[in-house]
Symmetry: D2
Subunit: 247 residues, 4 copies
């Protein structure tokens, strides 16, 4: 089977300016994620950053991407609308899966693809426990009924997303909050998986369960082996049952 071309896009700002973040992710969150994904022989993993040429995603790379991971936070507005439109179109036409991570809940592509303002409440870093609510799902493969993140930024309901197609993980936070933490959304002919953990100053991406979930999600989100061409248009059809099939 053809390798999955994965591109990890990262805003890559916190890691340059904040010592605590740099200490955790010295080469950037993107590089850290690539680090654990590279072990998968079925994946071909690349990275891209906001401050790279073409905001990291020149057409040649975007058009060669099967699954796009997206980490952004403080610079959502800097992402060009034209790039967002290309991403949206690529997902809707089934050419690419999309995996927004953590603060990408307020990113432009998340809003454009899902139909949401991405609003939630947030607060201090604290203990989070992730619960496995749909163990039958491919993205939950190998994940226990719950696991602990010693420290993660509080993200809380109400989270104004569309009801997920599949709600797989839920988060419990020390201060009294809960969160839909891992959820899938079919959009057009593409697939989206949002995963909440991953604050820049916390160690979520070090956790083996988080690594497994992201790995599973990439495999789940890869474009399907479509049996027909997915157009970006509303085709006019002229055939009738009798014409087409009775001949």
């Amino acid at each position: 089977m053809k390798k999955i071309n994965v591109t990890i896009w990262n805003e890559f700002r916190h890691e340059k300016t904040e010592d605590a973040v740099k200490a955790l992710y010295p080469d950037g969150i993107h590089a850290f994620i690539k680090g654990f994904l590279d072990a998968n022989e079925d994946m071909n993993v690349r990275t891209a950053c906001l401050d790279d040429p073409d905001q990291g995603l020149p057409d040649a790379l975007l058009e060669d991407t099967d699954v796009l991971l997206w980490w952004g936070h403080m610079a959502h507005r800097e992402v060009s609308d034209a790039l967002v439109e290309k991403i949206r179109k690529r997902v809707f036409t089934g050419k690419m899966g999309f995996i927004p991570l953590h603060s990408a809940h307020k990113s432009k592509p998340f809003a454009a693809i899902l139909g949401t303002n991405g609003n939630l409440s947030w607060g201090r870093d604290q203990k989070e426990i992730i619960w496995n609510m749909l163990p039958a799902h491919e993205i939950a493969a190998g994940i226990p009924d719950h696991f602990l993140l010693e420290l993660e930024e509080l993200y809380s309901e109400p989270f104004f997303i569309p009801q997920p197609d599949e709600l797989i993980f839920g988060g419990w936070f020390e201060d009294g909050h809960i969160m839909r933490s891992g959820a899938t959304f079919y959009r057009g002919a593409g697939k989206v998986f949002y995963f909440q953990p991953g604050h820049e100053s916390c160690r979520a991406y070090y956790h083996p369960c988080v690594q497994r979930i992201i790995t599973n999600a990439i495999r789940w989100a890869r474009p399907n082996d479509f049996g027909f061409a997915i157009e970006d248009a509303c085709p006019h059809v002229t055939w009738k049952t009798t014409d087409e099939f009775d001949a």
Copy 2:
């Protein structure tokens, strides 16, 4: 508009045998719920108990019930299969809404109607916070973004229910657990709303938000004004477009 005929079915055992429960709900949980529902002029509220004749639900009452609330715990197995079958059929044919409360997650009608074994994990009574995850829903009308139950029995994910049609409320528990606490399920031509709070030794039913939610849910679950007869059968149809419509 015709009043909604509500029947509150209660196992009514704990309240007779345990002093703490008797102190909270001296006439039974059913009587307490009837107490706050009676204020609604659009409802005609009756109660029924397991130890009543016909297990509380003679045909005359069941067939006059628009919405059935169900509270059971220690005596699930005593409920007759024939009665469960009547309830199931009535819900599926759109004659009755069904609102299983708290430990009814392991009741026979819940399993038969939903398609679940109703399994979850449970533990000691503790603080619960209920979060409002779908404020647009009629059942969430008037409910704040969250509210506190000082003491409620721990019910925890993984909760092996089918994915709800609408997940409205989620529960946070002090010891580190979460729970899908309020959820709707369309079944046949009927509607189901499961609501988790309501342990016999706790005061959930005293809480104004809990009372409002149950009140809202009854209005939501009432049978629809159907535009055609919902049969309990698989009708053989002989019409064709051309026959029926072109005449």
Copy 3:
């Protein structure tokens, strides 16, 4: 109960330029829909057209609208992005329900609110039969198991919408096609109902079932009686269980 402020927005172009359309809807589709909605005492119905000042929706009217119906076709691109953004925000913050009709599947607000490119296939006007797939739903109240539209524009699957929260109606077309014809989508704190019939040169809006469905949908989509303020922001929260509740 407060009346529902309904605004029917119409592109209102076909009715001015095409005789066949003018014959059916001489004052515009918006006026025709207003005609049958005016019989509802719980509704206060207004109309708005693309060529009116502020594209028909000055802030004063938009901010006074509880449910917005939208009919557009040939001039989708003329609708200003700023207006689309206001509509989107109003729906997401639960201030307004949104009912896109027929060719509004390719309108800007439909795409922005739902997360879709709205693509489908289309063809010649022909016989359509609408099937009632979720009779328990409020929007299906009073609707038979199926009804016939003698002539309606062919709209066909694959329809690249997100999976609906509730799929209520499905369409059968003479030439061999099917369509998800009536479907709900929760978005933010708002509600959306898409309804497929309504081609400008066909008589769908004359049909009593179509009129009943639109009437039902307006009642269903009205803003909820929220128990808390729905902000257009990500609030920072500082309370903890112990702080807020134990005091």
Copy 4:
């Protein structure tokens, strides 16, 4: 990867008593399906029939089955309740996927697992066109936007199933009817895919798209690689965040 142990259960009555059926499926529908599944190296395919000892499913075989296909029609009532209960439990605890075919919509395990009476309308054999409504889904891999079955028994909406988790295929019928023809349902820790074509006197199982869909569905429905034990019980939990995780 371990092979998928597939068991095809068939009532196997029509094929013995009706010449037309015997002509199409001389060794039974089960044998025919096994015929095209055997080409898949990742599957180990067995068959079982109602009139075999233990109704075809002795514990040893059932407990060795990863995915169970079920074809039944005239003898639904003969299937023992004890066997249905074993099947239901095995699906809910994630040990087995379940693929009910065609008239299995009225079978006992379908009703027990899904929560439905399985009612639909039916009529004469006629032309059916299957539409692909969720091309992104694994079960739709390789399937065109539509395909034709020259002759299939009419199955029509309203089909009183719970709303599917994923609605993948829809059917158009010559006489004016539509049908949700291919749909997934998560139940407990297991997965269910219902597929409507497959009347005993028609050639659906000869169609390459039908064969591909069933093949895809088996791979999709296989038990997950669970990260924890799925019990058939409601475990009492005593751990607290502080106990378990702070040590």
